[in-house]
């Protein structure tokens, strides 16, 4: 059994055990689980916050031990942060991140992809939103061709050689068909 050791060592009363997909167990302070809506709901449903309730280990079939370690690192760092609030109408995108976050997410893209999936599964909104903003920062300001390279997408659309704009191959998908360019067929000179 491998146990993570948070700054404040969890006692049996204030922790739960989660089990990763590869069978590793992690002791998690209940305070940390508040950042995960999935875990918080589970704890509430099973009343694991009560000291007189027996806590069975929680299997997390979609999370590997490596991902769990990474997630616990995130939860530890944000332990005393205020509760995550949904963006309000005054929200504006910022692609500036605190140094700790930049270092934390300085990982290969495939690991970041897995971490985003894990954050989505465990419903950790601050982590989920942060990774999404990192991804958005890699798309923003780029041309379609550059985005293709970043996201490793092979094109399946034909682009106009001059403008780079996709040619509508399926005329039925041209919605309202409005355009500002010259008529096709164009009126020939008389």
């Amino acid at each position: 059994m491998s146990c993570e050791e948070p700054t404040t060592s969890p006692t049996p009363e204030n922790n739960i055990t989660v089990v990763s997909s590869d069978g590793k167990e992690f002791l998690l302070d209940l305070k940390l689980t508040e950042q995960s809506e999935t875990l918080a709901r589970l704890i509430s449903n099973f009343e694991y916050d009560r000291t007189d309730v027996k806590k069975d280990p929680v299997p997390l079939g979609n999370i590997t031990s490596a991902q769990m370690q990474k997630i616990i690192e995130w939860l530890q760092h944000h332990r005393y942060y205020p509760k995550w609030e949904q963006n309000d109408i005054h929200y504006s995108t910022s692609f500036t991140f605190e140094t700790w976050v930049e270092e934390y997410l300085n990982i290969p893209n495939n690991e970041m992809f897995e971490l985003l999936n894990a954050a989505n599964y465990l419903n950790i909104p601050r982590l989920f939103s942060t990774i999404c903003r990192i991804m958005a920062s890699r798309i923003t300001g780029k041309s379609a061709e550059q985005i293709r390279t970043v996201l490793n997408i092979k094109t399946d659309v034909k682009n106009d050689v001059y403008t780079g704009i996709p040619i509508q191959e399926d005329s039925s998908s041209s919605e309202d068909g409005m355009s500002e360019i010259s008529l096709s067929p164009s009126p020939p000179p008389i």
């Binding site: 923003t140 996201l151 020939p188």
Partner: protein, 194 residues
């Protein structure tokens, strides 16, 4: 934080993809939509959302003004819509506007009720017999031997004969038929004060 391994964004749950796209600009969204058919589908909702802002700006601030409108398959365009297009140039192929509606369109134009900015209309008609209904309004048939130079945009167009109609402010337009890729069109060019 650049690294060389790829991030398969499109393999993420749609919720995550939408969250990523919610952070980028409308221009980024449009570039994203050009990447592949799938990205075009994914970007459809947020781009539609952006379109509402554009439509609001067009309606409230009269911006941007569409000067030239070309609709290749225009069967969906109604008479009311045609009358509301305050464009300089309207080109409609495969239209469902009837001869009677076109007649009303020209009557409205001659009485300054609609399309005041129109300089160039090019619209499909069924046959030459349609002209009887369409021009059931005051007009003047010009001798076919008379050639005048009118303009489509900046391009000079020599027009032989045609039918002149006159707006109540004195503006004159010449209408004439033209076959284009096997279809018959009615062209209307307003005489510009150059």
């Amino acid at each position: 934080m650049e690294n060389t391994s790829k991030f398969p964004l499109l393999h993420l749950p749609i919720l995550a993809i939408k969250e990523v796209l919610s952070e980028v600009t409308p221009l980024d969204l449009i570039n994203f939509s050009m990447v592949s058919r799938k990205t075009r589908l994914i970007a459809q909702d947020p781009v539609t959302e952006f379109k509402k802002y554009v439509e609001y700006a067009m309606e409230v601030f009269n911006w941007p003004t569409v000067k030239r409108l070309n609709i290749e398959k225009s069967t969906f365009v109604t008479f009311d819509q045609l009358s509301s297009f305050n464009c300089v140039s309207i080109h409609l192929s495969q239209t469902s506007i009837s001869d009677k509606e076109l007649n009303q369109f020209f009557k409205n134009w001659t009485t300054s009720k609609s399309n005041l900015n129109l300089q160039d209309l090019f619209i499909g008609i069924k046959d030459l017999e349609s002209l009887e209904t369409i021009f059931d309004l005051p007009h003047e048939v010009v001798d076919p031997g008379t050639v005048r130079t009118l303009h489509r945009g900046n391009h000079p167009i020599p027009v032989s004969g045609g039918i002149d109609i006159k707006r109540d402010d004195g503006t004159v337009a010449t209408c004439y038929t033209q076959v284009c890729i096997g279809s018959l069109y009615l062209a209307m060019l307003v005489h510009l004060k150059l």
